[in-house]
Symmetry: C2
Subunit: 201 residues, 2 copies
């Protein structure tokens, strides 16, 4: 197995997930700047030309970060990062989706609608970028509230929801938002997650 | 257990999922028009005020449609709607996410940025609505290509990815797009999925 990789937030989610599982896979860098992700060879692996992609030894390819994480969770259940029993798995999925469709999406939208890197890929709308930035700040406040009295988003255990939130915060700081000292819960959580060895993955 | 419900696309995904599992749960209608989803009682169940919400008999609440589906998939594995082995589960998740973050998101974005119903909830940007509509049309073409030589999105088996795509198409037709006869694969797939008893859920 190997993973087609790039230094970007979604591949980073998978790298952190693997580090938490203590799994080491060959990472094959794809030169997106040179258009390698648009080659016919790569589009066979993922028709959307996006990264990361997990390639099995038989050539089967899985894309979408959370789908790749799901594969490793099922193959290597320990430590569990996507919940244990049915209610817990559903709770982790709820938090991961809420954070992904909230903070992660709005932060990424801000960059897609404002960063020069994306100007040829999207019709950039400055008014939408401004709206996304304001939404990201709101989402950050909601996450601070969610962490009141809880060590991690889904409870006592570190999960994929924490990975998604941490990567979104790394992406958004400082261009989109900064972690205000008022966000006591989020500051405490962020310090703990940042100190995990997987944070350097 | 009960589900807090409303006639809207995300709750519909859960209703179809339950119908495919042959599960019948009490559905409790929430009067969103009257603001019942913003009551302190409901916000205790889902701080975001969104539907659907699954409430367990012990009061535990799970929101986010796919997280609710995950719970029922784990409790009632047959028929499987989220894949079987690790590769298959990852493939289903890949397709479900691709469709949700593609066709479903862009279609919903169009309405959020153009429909009078949403004018008090969002800063509506007509330019963004137009961009979302164009993206939804592009996504529809990609889904037609994806169904070439395949009965369902993730292969031979009907899955949650088909539910997400079908609900998105019901939502988008005819305001955002229409299924063109050119989309032969999608037309064939749509006719088959529409004929399933769960389509009326």
């Amino acid at each position: 197995m190997k993973i087609y990789d790039i230094r970007a937030p979604n591949p980073r989610r998978v790298r952190i997930f693997l580090a938490e599982k203590r799994l080491e896979l060959p990472l094959k860098a794809v030169d997106v700047g040179a258009g390698a992700n648009r080659s016919s060879e790569f589009l066979e692996k993922n028709a959307l030309g996006k990264l990361p992609v997990l390639e099995q030894d038989d050539g089967t390819c899985i894309s979408e970060s959370v789908a790749i994480c799901r594969f490793f969770e099922l193959k290597y259940p320990n430590p569990p990062l996507m919940g244990v029993d049915a209610v817990d798995q559903a709770r982790v999925e709820m938090w991961n989706r809420r954070i992904e469709l909230g903070l992660f999406r709005t932060t990424a939208d801000y960059f897609q609608h404002s960063a020069p890197f994306f100007k040829d890929q999207f019709v950039q709308l400055p008014a939408y970028a401004a709206s996304a930035k304001a939404s990201a700040e709101t989402e950050l406040g909601l996450l601070d509230e969610a962490l009141e009295g809880r060590r991690f988003f889904a409870g006592d255990r570190f999960t994929i929801a924490d990975i998604t939130a941490w990567v979104a915060i790394e992406l958004g700081t400082p261009s989109v938002f900064t972690l205000q000292p008022d966000f006591k819960n989020l500051m405490r959580w962020h310090a703990e997650v940042s100190s995990r060895p997987s944070a350097s993955a």
